[in-house]
């Protein structure tokens, strides 16, 4: 902890201070090598917040179907129909959240609103008794999630040097996934202690989520000192040097504020897409997202192929999440070392192999294990790594908006893919649908490798060498 503390940027630094300026000060005290190893405190803080929030969310997810059907006696078919609308809305909210956070560097405030809103939705579930009101609460919960994602990821990236982006996101995603795995277990114990204790479960979930909000408010860096690690200047330096106004250094507080508000506009946010690096990244993420079959289809196919006992079905996502948890940090570090885009593409190649194995008409337990490990590895190699890669392509002032753009591209592509895949499944059957997805993924991986050539991407190590 004391090492991380040493990097906290003096609070006297004005808002919008260019990261590059501060880099020299702490680096003078600590050797660059130690800097690279030290964990930014912000990453641990945000990892803890996400862990607690995921415990809270997955506790509710685990019992929600039972609550709606058994306790409220609702006919839940109507919820499925609304899913598409929520997804679209959540995408929009994510862009808005990203943009709001950049205006005046309010990452922490926007993230806190997002986490807080989701936390409040837990007790609100107890007050909602009809399909419509439950729908409103679930929509508010997703709004909170949409709002907080981009500012949080921006804070992680701003707290990390260019050469440790992958590792920071890896640590965060590992903590996040640990929370997702813990949630259902805690839910089980609460439900065992209290028969029909849905109210107790929602209150415990709320308390855990509020603890997360408290950790965020108390320990996350606020406005003006979102950056607490040295060397963070490289995050922008690594981006194209085309001279976007937003990446220009700013000197003192009043002047910089004015300049910042001029540049951090919605137009500037979308203007990010004019930056070739980010444009290609968003495009490639979109392309690859279009060929990523949703998890539920994959699990369904595994279950059918292997004639697995039904009781085991819930363990499939656990296996994926467990692998994700174990590999997130090493893969993040590998991304920093060997190139983020390479690791991102390698993750998709792993997924491609998993699809291929599912198409092979052999079925045994070993195959199942390999497919699940590859699936978890795919998440470890892509989820945080994509954000790490996007982070170095976006100037600090527009970091949150930029990350939101890339997430949105990927998210909407995946949603479109699940619709397309569902249609293909019912029209041609599962094998043919998967075969087409495999071909599409192979094409997209190839295109991704060509469109964003691997050699053009300096690895973080080579970039870091200029320090």
């Amino acid at each position: 902890m004391y090492l991380a503390d040493a990097y906290t940027v003096p609070t006297s630094a004005g808002p919008g201070t260019d990261p590059g300026q501060q880099a020299a000060a702490p680096a003078a005290r600590v050797t660059p090598r130690a800097v690279a190893r030290a964990l930014p405190r912000t990453v641990l803080v945000l990892g803890t917040v996400s862990l607690l929030t995921d415990v809270s969310a997955e506790m509710v997810t685990a019992v929600l179907p039972l609550y709606l059907v058994a306790e409220l006696g609702l006919s839940p078919l109507g919820f499925g129909l609304l899913d598409g609308i929520y997804n679209g809305f959540s995408t929009l909210v994510r862009l808005v959240g990203g943009h709001l956070a950049d205006r005046g560097g309010r990452h922490k405030a926007v993230a806190a609103v997002g986490y807080g809103l989701s936390a409040l939705c837990k007790p609100a579930l107890l007050l909602a008794h009809g399909v419509a009101s439950i729908g409103v609460v679930l929509a508010a919960d997703r709004t909170g999630k949409g709002l907080r994602t981009a500012p949080r990821d921006a804070m992680i990236s701003l707290a990390s040097s260019a050469e440790t982006q992958g590792r920071s996101f890896g640590i965060h995603r590992a903590m996040d996934t640990a929370g997702a795995l813990l949630g259902p277990i805690i839910a089980f114990f609460v439900m065992r202690a209290a028969v029909d204790g849905f109210d107790a479960l929602f209150m415990v979930s709320f308390c855990i989520a509020m603890t997360g909000v408290a950790v965020l408010l108390l320990f996350a860096p606020g406005r003006g000192h979102t950056t607490d690690a040295p060397g963070r200047g490289h995050a922008t330096a690594g981006a194209d040097a085309a001279g976007n106004a937003a990446s220009a250094p700013v000197e003192d507080a009043p002047a910089s504020r004015a300049r910042e508000e001029a540049t951090v506009s919605a137009r500037a946010a979308f203007g990010l897409l004019r930056r070739p690096d980010l444009r290609w990244l968003a495009l490639c993420a979109l392309l690859l997202g279009l060929a990523t079959v949703s998890d539920s289809f994959l699990y369904l196919m595994l279950q059918r192929d292997l004639a697995m006992p039904r009781e085991w079905f819930p363990l499939l996502p656990v296996a994926t999440a467990g692998t994700f948890l174990l590999l997130a940090v090493p893969f993040g570090q590998a991304a920093d070392r060997f190139g983020r885009w390479r690791v991102f593409l390698a993750g998709h190649v792993g997924l491609l192999v998993a699809y291929g194995l599912l198409l092979v008409p052999v079925s045994d337990a070993a195959l199942l294990a390999v497919v699940l490990v590859l699936h978890g590895a795919f998440y470890a190699a892509t989820d945080g790594v994509l954000m790490a890669d996007a982070a170095v392509s976006v100037p600090a002032q527009l970091r949150s908006s930029g990350l939101a753009l890339v997430q949105t591209a990927q998210g909407s592509a995946r949603f479109a893919c699940s619709l397309l895949f569902g249609a293909a499944w019912s029209a041609w059957g599962d094998r043919a649908a998967l075969a087409s997805a495999t071909v599409a993924l192979a094409v997209c991986v190839t295109l991704g490798a060509v469109a964003r050539p691997l050699r053009a991407l300096g690895t973080a190590a080579s970039r870091g060498a200029t320090t």
Partner: protein, 345 residues
């Protein structure tokens, strides 16, 4: 704020929120214990012999009702039997617990919750006339509807299946049909050929629920696709379902086979309570709204050829209500704290 001060604030927050959590769980668990004590203001419940065999006399005076008891106490969720002539009188409790239940001609179907290791599991148990298990089948989701054909041979049930854990709100239903003579199980009606407007129909989003049997080969059920629901007539041997009519859910065929009670979405109702109970005469396809103006979300049961019984939310989970099937009259409470009735006798 110094880091020390922040840690103190965090510590206090954790203590406060932890206290609320522990307190609430303890409160809920004590409340659970309270439910195990026999409730005083309801009808008396005593353990005894419950049978699904009728007297064969067919006389209404000897008819009984068997349903899931929802009174708090040790017998909560157990199947209980009452005299049809005194439905709110003393209840005789079996030791069989079910979430949903139905019975006909000495065959019972009981959809149960099993205490699982990490999550709830469910199964369908076929019972003989003495409530002994004949066979059981694992269920894919949360049980909602159960029916037995008039002869007692065919059994059907519907469960809600939730999708993957990341999209907690994505639901579908799955309806299964079991032949208790051959023990062949048709896992999902989605494997049937759908005939809509005379043409074969395929849809990714087809869902079935609420089977009601006409005989051992034919049934009615609800099919949903593209945001609409349809009444379908199904053929077990041909494995086909044919759409008959729109906006019909949870049909229930009258004992004489001439009418279907069903719930219908009505535009003037609120989104929270969208259904009204109707009766469709299969001879002239005319619909009659019933005298119940509350939203009914149940697959009604015919007490006889002129009276329907259905469940509505009550103080102890749900109560049973009756209404004349011809559109006259107003609802009457049959008994409190009861769900999923079957007429025996």
């Amino acid at each position: 704020m110094t880091d020390r001060a922040r840690l103190v604030v965090l510590f206090l927050t954790v203590v406060l929120l932890g206290g609320v959590s522990v307190g609430w769980v303890r409160y809920a668990s004590e409340r659970g214990a309270l439910r195990d004590r026999q409730q005083q203001d309801g009808p008396p419940v005593a353990a005894g012999r419950v049978t699904l065999a009728g007297t064969g006399a067919g006389s209404p005076r000897q008819q009984r009702l068997v349903f899931r008891n929802m009174l708090w106490g040790p017998q909560r969720d157990e199947l209980v039997s009452v005299a049809a002539s005194a439905p709110s009188g003393p209840r005789t409790a079996s030791d069989v617990r079910c979430l949903r239940f139905y019975a006909a001609a000495g065959t019972g179907i009981c959809l149960q919750r099993l205490p699982g290791t990490l999550e709830e599991r469910y199964r369908a148990v076929v019972l003989d006339a003495d409530l002994r298990e004949q066979r059981h089948f694992p269920l894919d989701g949360i049980p909602t509807r159960a029916r037995v054909s008039p002869s007692g041979r065919m059994v059907a049930w519907t469960v809600f299946v939730s999708g993957d854990s990341y999209a907690g709100t994505q639901f579908s239903t799955r309806a299964s049909i079991l032949d208790t003579r051959t023990w062949t199980l048709q896992q999902s009606l989605e494997d049937y050929q759908v005939i809509m407007d005379g043409k074969a129909y395929r849809g990714a989003d087809v869902n079935f629920w609420g089977v009601t049997f006409a005989d051992d080969d034919h049934f009615y059920a609800t099919l949903a696709t593209r945001g609409k629901t349809y009444l379908v007539r199904g053929d077990v041997r041909a494995r086909t379902v044919t759409t008959l009519r729109e906006n019909v859910e949870c049909p229930s065929l009258s004992p004489d086979g001439t009418r279907l009670a069903f719930k219908k979405r009505v535009p003037e109702a609120s989104a929270d309570a969208p259904w009204r109970e109707y009766v469709l005469d299969l001879r002239d396809m005319r619909e009659t709204p019933l005298g119940e103006h509350r939203s009914v979300d149940d697959q009604a049961v015919w007490l006889d050829n002129s009276t329907l019984v259905y469940a509505l939310a009550g103080d102890y989970g749900s109560d049973l209500w009756t209404i004349p099937a011809d559109g006259t009259g107003s609802p009457t409470r049959l008994t409190t704290a009861a769900l999923a009735p079957a007429v025996i006798g």
